[in-house]
Symmetry: C2
Subunit: 208 residues, 2 copies
Amino acid sequence: MKRTIITISRQFGSGGRTIGAQLAKELDIPFYDKELISLAAKKSGIEERIFENADKQAVSSLLYSLSMGMYNVSSSVIDRPDVLPLNDRVFIIQHNVIRDLAEKGSCVIVGRCADYVLREDPDAVHVFIHSDLENRVRRAVEDYQFPGEKAAASIQKADKRRAAYYEYYTGRRWGRMEQYDFAFNSDRVGLENVVGFLRDWVLRTRQD
Amino acid sequence: MKRTIITISRQFGSGGRTIGAQLAKELDIPFYDKELISLAAKKSGIEERIFENADKQAVSSLLYSLSMGMYNVSSSVIDRPDVLPLNDRVFIIQHNVIRDLAEKGSCVIVGRCADYVLREDPDAVHVFIHSDLENRVRRAVEDYQFPGEKAAASIQKADKRRAAYYEYYTGRRWGRMEQYDFAFNSDRVGLENVVGFLRDWVLRTRQD
Protein backbone atom coordinates (compact mmCIF):
# COMPACT_ATOMS: atom_id res chain seq x y z
CA MET A 1 0.00 0.00 0.00
CA LYS A 2 1.18 3.47 -0.82
CA ARG A 3 1.58 5.86 2.09
CA THR A 4 -1.91 7.07 2.94
CA ILE A 5 -2.65 9.77 5.47
CA ILE A 6 -6.28 10.13 6.45
CA THR A 7 -7.24 13.27 8.34
CA ILE A 8 -10.59 13.31 10.08
CA SER A 9 -12.27 16.54 11.07
CA ARG A 10 -15.55 16.26 12.91
CA GLN A 11 -18.38 17.92 14.72
CA PHE A 12 -18.45 17.20 18.43
CA GLY A 13 -20.37 14.00 19.16
CA SER A 14 -20.53 12.90 15.54
CA GLY A 15 -18.54 9.73 16.16
CA GLY A 16 -15.63 10.96 14.04
CA ARG A 17 -13.03 9.86 16.56
CA THR A 18 -14.55 6.37 16.77
CA ILE A 19 -14.60 6.14 12.99
CA GLY A 20 -10.94 7.19 12.81
CA ALA A 21 -9.83 4.71 15.46
CA GLN A 22 -11.71 1.84 13.84
CA LEU A 23 -10.47 2.73 10.39
CA ALA A 24 -6.86 2.79 11.58
CA LYS A 25 -7.39 -0.60 13.22
CA GLU A 26 -8.86 -2.16 10.10
CA LEU A 27 -6.09 -0.72 7.92
CA ASP A 28 -3.52 -1.67 10.54
CA ILE A 29 -1.94 1.78 10.58
CA PRO A 30 -1.28 4.17 13.51
CA PHE A 31 -4.04 6.39 14.89
CA TYR A 32 -3.28 9.81 16.36
CA ASP A 33 -5.58 12.11 18.27
CA LYS A 34 -4.88 15.14 20.45
CA GLU A 35 -3.44 13.15 23.33
CA LEU A 36 -1.20 11.07 21.12
CA ILE A 37 0.05 14.09 19.22
CA SER A 38 0.96 15.77 22.51
CA LEU A 39 2.71 12.60 23.59
CA ALA A 40 4.53 12.32 20.30
CA ALA A 41 5.67 15.92 20.67
CA LYS A 42 7.14 15.18 24.08
CA LYS A 43 8.76 11.91 23.07
CA SER A 44 10.29 13.22 19.90
CA GLY A 45 11.89 16.07 21.74
CA ILE A 46 10.53 18.34 19.09
CA GLU A 47 9.52 20.79 21.77
CA GLU A 48 13.10 21.33 22.82
CA ARG A 49 14.24 21.35 19.27
CA ILE A 50 11.74 23.94 18.20
CA PHE A 51 12.76 26.30 20.92
CA GLU A 52 16.45 25.74 20.38
CA ASN A 53 16.02 26.35 16.68
CA ALA A 54 13.31 28.86 17.25
CA ASP A 55 14.63 31.30 14.71
CA LYS A 56 14.21 29.05 11.72
CA GLN A 57 11.19 26.92 12.55
CA ALA A 58 8.97 29.34 14.32
CA VAL A 59 9.65 32.08 11.85
CA SER A 60 8.87 29.93 8.83
CA SER A 61 5.66 28.71 10.46
CA LEU A 62 4.78 32.18 11.53
CA LEU A 63 5.42 33.56 8.10
CA TYR A 64 2.58 31.64 6.51
CA SER A 65 0.37 32.87 9.30
CA LEU A 66 1.44 36.38 8.55
CA SER A 67 0.86 35.89 4.86
CA MET A 68 -2.70 34.86 5.61
CA GLY A 69 -3.39 37.91 7.66
CA MET A 70 -3.78 35.95 10.88
CA TYR A 71 -1.26 38.07 12.69
CA ASN A 72 -0.72 41.73 12.68
CA VAL A 73 2.68 41.94 14.25
CA SER A 74 5.67 44.10 13.73
CA SER A 75 8.85 42.73 12.22
CA SER A 76 10.48 42.89 15.63
CA VAL A 77 8.25 39.96 16.64
CA ILE A 78 9.33 37.90 13.65
CA ASP A 79 12.88 38.31 14.85
CA ARG A 80 11.90 37.19 18.34
CA PRO A 81 9.54 34.19 18.11
CA ASP A 82 9.94 33.55 21.80
CA VAL A 83 7.56 36.44 22.39
CA LEU A 84 4.79 34.56 20.58
CA PRO A 85 1.81 33.69 22.75
CA LEU A 86 2.00 30.22 24.23
CA ASN A 87 -1.03 28.97 22.24
CA ASP A 88 0.66 29.89 19.03
CA ARG A 89 3.84 28.13 19.98
CA VAL A 90 1.79 25.04 20.82
CA PHE A 91 0.13 25.21 17.43
CA ILE A 92 3.48 25.45 15.70
CA ILE A 93 4.74 22.41 17.62
CA GLN A 94 1.65 20.39 16.77
CA HIS A 95 1.96 21.47 13.18
CA ASN A 96 5.48 20.11 12.98
CA VAL A 97 4.61 16.92 14.86
CA ILE A 98 1.79 16.21 12.42
CA ARG A 99 4.11 16.73 9.46
CA ASP A 100 6.70 14.43 11.02
CA LEU A 101 4.13 11.71 11.78
CA ALA A 102 2.74 11.91 8.24
CA GLU A 103 6.20 11.67 6.74
CA LYS A 104 6.88 8.46 8.63
CA GLY A 105 4.10 6.55 6.91
CA SER A 106 0.40 5.83 6.65
CA CYS A 107 -1.79 6.91 9.57
CA VAL A 108 -5.13 8.35 10.63
CA ILE A 109 -5.05 11.74 12.35
CA VAL A 110 -8.13 13.16 14.08
CA GLY A 111 -8.52 16.89 14.61
CA ARG A 112 -5.69 19.33 15.32
CA CYS A 113 -6.18 21.11 11.96
CA ALA A 114 -4.38 18.16 10.34
CA ASP A 115 -6.40 18.64 7.16
CA TYR A 116 -4.91 22.10 6.88
CA VAL A 117 -1.39 21.15 7.91
CA LEU A 118 -1.33 18.41 5.25
CA ARG A 119 -3.38 20.23 2.62
CA GLU A 120 -0.61 20.03 0.04
CA ASP A 121 0.40 16.44 0.76
CA PRO A 122 -0.71 14.46 -2.31
CA ASP A 123 -1.06 11.31 -0.19
CA ALA A 124 -3.37 12.93 2.35
CA VAL A 125 -7.11 12.30 2.17
CA HIS A 126 -9.43 14.59 4.08
CA VAL A 127 -12.67 13.44 5.69
CA PHE A 128 -15.32 15.42 7.57
CA ILE A 129 -17.82 13.72 9.87
CA HIS A 130 -20.99 15.46 10.98
CA SER A 131 -24.40 14.45 12.28
CA ASP A 132 -27.72 15.81 13.44
CA LEU A 133 -27.78 17.56 16.77
CA GLU A 134 -30.15 14.95 18.20
CA ASN A 135 -27.69 12.12 17.66
CA ARG A 136 -24.77 14.17 18.85
CA VAL A 137 -26.62 14.96 22.06
CA ARG A 138 -27.29 11.26 22.59
CA ARG A 139 -23.63 10.46 22.05
CA ALA A 140 -22.47 13.26 24.36
CA VAL A 141 -24.70 11.96 27.14
CA GLU A 142 -23.90 8.27 26.63
CA ASP A 143 -20.20 8.45 25.80
CA TYR A 144 -19.05 11.61 27.52
CA GLN A 145 -21.50 11.78 30.43
CA PHE A 146 -22.70 15.25 29.52
CA PRO A 147 -25.65 16.33 31.68
CA GLY A 148 -28.65 15.76 29.44
CA GLU A 149 -30.26 19.13 29.86
CA LYS A 150 -27.11 21.02 28.96
CA ALA A 151 -25.79 18.68 26.29
CA ALA A 152 -27.09 20.54 23.24
CA ALA A 153 -25.70 23.87 24.40
CA SER A 154 -22.38 22.28 25.36
CA ILE A 155 -22.04 20.61 21.96
CA GLN A 156 -22.70 23.82 20.13
CA LYS A 157 -20.17 25.58 22.31
CA ALA A 158 -17.59 22.86 21.65
CA ASP A 159 -18.12 23.20 17.90
CA LYS A 160 -17.84 26.97 18.07
CA ARG A 161 -14.55 26.53 19.87
CA ARG A 162 -13.31 24.10 17.21
CA ALA A 163 -14.38 26.44 14.43
CA ALA A 164 -12.71 29.44 16.07
CA TYR A 165 -9.48 27.51 16.69
CA TYR A 166 -9.42 26.25 13.11
CA GLU A 167 -10.23 29.60 11.60
CA TYR A 168 -7.70 31.45 13.71
CA TYR A 169 -4.82 29.15 12.81
CA THR A 170 -5.66 28.32 9.22
CA GLY A 171 -7.47 31.35 7.85
CA ARG A 172 -10.03 28.95 6.38
CA ARG A 173 -13.61 28.33 7.41
CA TRP A 174 -14.14 25.14 9.41
CA GLY A 175 -16.36 22.51 7.80
CA ARG A 176 -16.34 24.04 4.33
CA MET A 177 -17.19 21.19 2.01
CA GLU A 178 -14.61 21.97 -0.66
CA GLN A 179 -11.80 21.35 1.81
CA TYR A 180 -12.70 17.67 2.22
CA ASP A 181 -12.62 14.73 -0.14
CA PHE A 182 -15.37 12.93 1.75
CA ALA A 183 -18.07 14.15 4.11
CA PHE A 184 -20.58 11.92 5.83
CA ASN A 185 -23.53 12.32 8.13
CA SER A 186 -22.33 9.48 10.35
CA ASP A 187 -25.70 8.49 11.75
CA ARG A 188 -27.59 8.62 8.49
CA VAL A 189 -24.89 6.67 6.66
CA GLY A 190 -23.96 4.45 9.60
CA LEU A 191 -20.60 4.53 11.36
CA GLU A 192 -19.64 1.03 10.19
CA ASN A 193 -20.56 1.94 6.63
CA VAL A 194 -18.32 5.00 6.74
CA VAL A 195 -15.44 2.91 8.09
CA GLY A 196 -16.06 0.15 5.56
CA PHE A 197 -16.22 2.50 2.62
CA LEU A 198 -13.07 4.41 3.53
CA ARG A 199 -11.20 1.17 4.22
CA ASP A 200 -12.23 -0.39 0.90
CA TRP A 201 -11.50 2.82 -0.96
CA VAL A 202 -8.00 3.03 0.50
CA LEU A 203 -7.28 -0.62 -0.24
CA ARG A 204 -8.67 -0.39 -3.78
CA THR A 205 -7.27 2.91 -4.94
CA ARG A 206 -4.05 3.39 -3.07
CA GLN A 207 -2.21 0.20 -3.68
CA ASP A 208 1.02 0.23 -5.58
CA MET B 1 -36.09 -2.59 -1.73
CA LYS B 2 -37.71 0.18 0.24
CA ARG B 3 -38.54 3.37 -1.61
CA THR B 4 -35.31 5.32 -1.87
CA ILE B 5 -35.06 8.82 -3.25
CA ILE B 6 -31.56 10.06 -3.95
CA THR B 7 -31.16 13.76 -4.57
CA ILE B 8 -27.91 14.93 -6.10
CA SER B 9 -26.76 18.53 -5.82
CA ARG B 10 -23.54 19.43 -7.55
CA GLN B 11 -21.06 22.04 -8.58
CA PHE B 12 -20.98 22.71 -12.28
CA GLY B 13 -18.63 20.32 -14.05
CA SER B 14 -18.18 18.04 -11.06
CA GLY B 15 -19.69 15.03 -12.83
CA GLY B 16 -22.70 14.95 -10.50
CA ARG B 17 -25.16 14.43 -13.30
CA THR B 18 -23.11 11.53 -14.71
CA ILE B 19 -22.93 9.97 -11.25
CA GLY B 20 -26.69 10.31 -10.81
CA ALA B 21 -27.50 8.80 -14.20
CA GLN B 22 -25.14 5.87 -13.67
CA LEU B 23 -26.41 5.26 -10.14
CA ALA B 24 -30.03 5.20 -11.35
CA LYS B 25 -29.03 2.74 -14.07
CA GLU B 26 -27.24 0.42 -11.66
CA LEU B 27 -30.12 0.54 -9.18
CA ASP B 28 -32.62 0.20 -12.03
CA ILE B 29 -34.70 3.16 -10.89
CA PRO B 30 -35.81 6.29 -12.80
CA PHE B 31 -33.47 9.25 -13.24
CA TYR B 32 -34.78 12.79 -13.41
CA ASP B 33 -32.87 15.88 -14.35
CA LYS B 34 -33.98 19.37 -15.37
CA GLU B 35 -35.25 18.29 -18.78
CA LEU B 36 -37.28 15.39 -17.44
CA ILE B 37 -38.78 17.48 -14.68
CA SER B 38 -39.76 20.10 -17.25
CA LEU B 39 -41.33 17.38 -19.32
CA ALA B 40 -43.30 16.09 -16.37
CA ALA B 41 -44.40 19.63 -15.61
CA LYS B 42 -45.69 20.22 -19.11
CA LYS B 43 -49.08 19.06 -17.98
CA SER B 44 -49.33 22.30 -16.11
CA GLY B 45 -49.54 24.24 -19.34
CA ILE B 46 -46.49 26.40 -18.77
CA GLU B 47 -44.15 26.43 -21.73
CA GLU B 48 -40.98 24.40 -21.42
CA ARG B 49 -38.90 27.41 -22.42
CA ILE B 50 -39.88 29.11 -19.19
CA PHE B 51 -38.50 26.23 -17.15
CA GLU B 52 -35.27 26.26 -19.01
CA ASN B 53 -34.74 29.88 -18.14
CA ALA B 54 -36.02 29.63 -14.61
CA ASP B 55 -32.64 29.78 -12.95
CA LYS B 56 -31.13 32.13 -15.47
CA GLN B 57 -33.54 34.97 -14.95
CA ALA B 58 -32.87 37.37 -12.14
CA VAL B 59 -34.39 36.06 -8.96
CA SER B 60 -35.80 39.40 -8.05
CA SER B 61 -39.39 38.83 -7.10
CA LEU B 62 -40.67 38.54 -3.59
CA LEU B 63 -43.43 36.02 -3.31
CA TYR B 64 -43.05 32.36 -3.83
CA SER B 65 -43.91 28.90 -2.70
CA LEU B 66 -46.80 29.28 -0.37
CA SER B 67 -46.57 25.70 0.76
CA MET B 68 -43.28 26.36 2.47
CA GLY B 69 -44.58 29.00 4.79
CA MET B 70 -41.47 31.07 4.43
CA TYR B 71 -43.52 34.11 3.64
CA ASN B 72 -46.60 35.32 5.33
CA VAL B 73 -48.75 35.81 2.32
CA SER B 74 -52.36 36.82 2.60
CA SER B 75 -54.98 34.23 1.75
CA SER B 76 -56.11 36.30 -1.18
CA VAL B 77 -52.79 35.54 -2.90
CA ILE B 78 -53.02 31.84 -2.03
CA ASP B 79 -56.36 31.79 -3.74
CA ARG B 80 -54.96 33.50 -6.77
CA PRO B 81 -51.56 31.97 -7.57
CA ASP B 82 -51.77 33.52 -11.03
CA VAL B 83 -50.72 36.84 -9.54
CA LEU B 84 -47.33 35.37 -8.57
CA PRO B 85 -44.35 36.23 -10.77
CA LEU B 86 -43.71 33.68 -13.47
CA ASN B 87 -40.42 32.41 -12.03
CA ASP B 88 -42.07 31.70 -8.75
CA ARG B 89 -44.90 29.82 -10.39
CA VAL B 90 -42.31 27.72 -12.20
CA PHE B 91 -40.63 26.92 -8.92
CA ILE B 92 -43.93 25.91 -7.32
CA ILE B 93 -44.79 23.67 -10.24
CA GLN B 94 -41.35 22.02 -10.14
CA HIS B 95 -41.70 21.66 -6.40
CA ASN B 96 -44.95 19.79 -6.83
CA VAL B 97 -43.64 17.68 -9.71
CA ILE B 98 -40.66 16.59 -7.61
CA ARG B 99 -42.95 15.63 -4.74
CA ASP B 100 -45.18 13.67 -7.08
CA LEU B 101 -42.26 11.84 -8.67
CA ALA B 102 -40.81 10.97 -5.27
CA GLU B 103 -44.13 9.68 -4.04
CA LYS B 104 -44.38 7.29 -6.97
CA GLY B 105 -41.29 5.35 -5.92
CA SER B 106 -37.51 5.15 -5.84
CA CYS B 107 -35.61 7.51 -8.13
CA VAL B 108 -32.56 9.73 -8.53
CA ILE B 109 -33.21 13.46 -8.93
CA VAL B 110 -30.44 15.85 -9.97
CA GLY B 111 -30.63 19.54 -9.13
CA ARG B 112 -33.81 21.62 -9.00
CA CYS B 113 -33.52 22.13 -5.22
CA ALA B 114 -34.80 18.57 -4.80
CA ASP B 115 -32.79 18.17 -1.59
CA TYR B 116 -34.76 21.03 -0.13
CA VAL B 117 -38.14 20.00 -1.52
CA LEU B 118 -37.70 16.51 -0.03
CA ARG B 119 -35.89 17.54 3.14
CA GLU B 120 -38.52 16.02 5.37
CA ASP B 121 -38.97 12.82 3.42
CA PRO B 122 -37.46 10.06 5.60
CA ASP B 123 -36.71 7.98 2.51
CA ALA B 124 -34.75 10.74 0.80
CA VAL B 125 -30.95 10.66 0.85
CA HIS B 126 -29.06 13.80 -0.07
CA VAL B 127 -25.74 13.81 -1.89
CA PHE B 128 -23.48 16.70 -2.86
CA ILE B 129 -20.81 16.35 -5.55
CA HIS B 130 -17.99 18.84 -5.88
CA SER B 131 -14.52 18.91 -7.34
CA ASP B 132 -11.48 21.08 -7.87
CA LEU B 133 -11.80 23.89 -10.35
CA GLU B 134 -9.10 22.38 -12.54
CA ASN B 135 -11.06 19.18 -13.11
CA ARG B 136 -14.29 21.05 -13.57
CA VAL B 137 -12.70 23.21 -16.24
CA ARG B 138 -11.47 20.08 -18.03
CA ARG B 139 -14.94 18.60 -17.93
CA ALA B 140 -16.59 21.82 -19.10
CA VAL B 141 -14.27 21.97 -22.09
CA GLU B 142 -14.48 18.25 -22.95
CA ASP B 143 -18.13 17.53 -22.23
CA TYR B 144 -19.81 20.88 -22.73
CA GLN B 145 -17.49 22.45 -25.32
CA PHE B 146 -16.83 25.52 -23.22
CA PRO B 147 -14.16 27.73 -24.78
CA GLY B 148 -11.05 26.90 -22.78
CA GLU B 149 -9.98 30.42 -21.92
CA LYS B 150 -13.38 31.33 -20.52
CA ALA B 151 -14.23 28.02 -18.88
CA ALA B 152 -13.14 28.85 -15.34
CA ALA B 153 -15.07 32.11 -15.29
CA SER B 154 -18.14 30.45 -16.84
CA ILE B 155 -18.10 27.67 -14.27
CA GLN B 156 -17.89 30.08 -11.41
CA LYS B 157 -20.73 32.09 -12.89
CA ALA B 158 -22.85 28.94 -13.29
CA ASP B 159 -22.25 28.01 -9.66
CA LYS B 160 -23.10 31.50 -8.49
CA ARG B 161 -26.37 31.23 -10.40
CA ARG B 162 -27.11 27.85 -8.81
CA ALA B 163 -26.33 29.20 -5.37
CA ALA B 164 -28.48 32.30 -5.86
CA TYR B 165 -31.39 30.25 -7.19
CA TYR B 166 -31.13 27.80 -4.32
CA GLU B 167 -30.79 30.44 -1.68
CA TYR B 168 -33.63 32.53 -3.01
CA TYR B 169 -36.09 29.66 -3.11
CA THR B 170 -35.04 27.71 -0.04
CA GLY B 171 -33.71 30.29 2.40
CA ARG B 172 -30.74 27.94 2.95
CA ARG B 173 -27.15 28.29 1.86
CA TRP B 174 -26.20 26.17 -1.13
CA GLY B 175 -23.56 23.50 -0.52
CA ARG B 176 -23.68 23.66 3.26
CA MET B 177 -22.34 20.34 4.44
CA GLU B 178 -24.94 19.70 7.13
CA GLN B 179 -27.69 19.57 4.52
CA TYR B 180 -26.25 16.49 2.85
CA ASP B 181 -25.82 12.92 4.00
CA PHE B 182 -22.88 12.35 1.67
CA ALA B 183 -20.46 14.73 0.00
CA PHE B 184 -17.69 13.67 -2.34
CA ASN B 185 -14.91 15.31 -4.27
CA SER B 186 -15.72 13.30 -7.38
CA ASP B 187 -12.29 13.42 -8.95
CA ARG B 188 -10.34 12.67 -5.79
CA VAL B 189 -12.65 9.79 -4.87
CA GLY B 190 -13.32 8.65 -8.42
CA LEU B 191 -16.71 8.83 -10.14
CA GLU B 192 -17.06 5.04 -10.32
CA ASN B 193 -16.20 4.75 -6.64
CA VAL B 194 -18.89 7.26 -5.72
CA VAL B 195 -21.47 5.37 -7.79
CA GLY B 196 -20.34 2.03 -6.38
CA PHE B 197 -20.45 3.17 -2.82
CA LEU B 198 -23.89 4.77 -3.08
CA ARG B 199 -25.25 1.74 -4.94
CA ASP B 200 -23.90 -0.71 -2.36
CA TRP B 201 -25.07 1.45 0.51
CA VAL B 202 -28.61 1.63 -0.88
CA LEU B 203 -28.72 -2.10 -1.50
CA ARG B 204 -27.30 -2.95 1.91
CA THR B 205 -29.14 -0.53 4.13
CA ARG B 206 -32.46 0.07 2.47
CA GLN B 207 -33.77 -3.36 1.83
CA ASP B 208 -36.93 -4.51 3.50
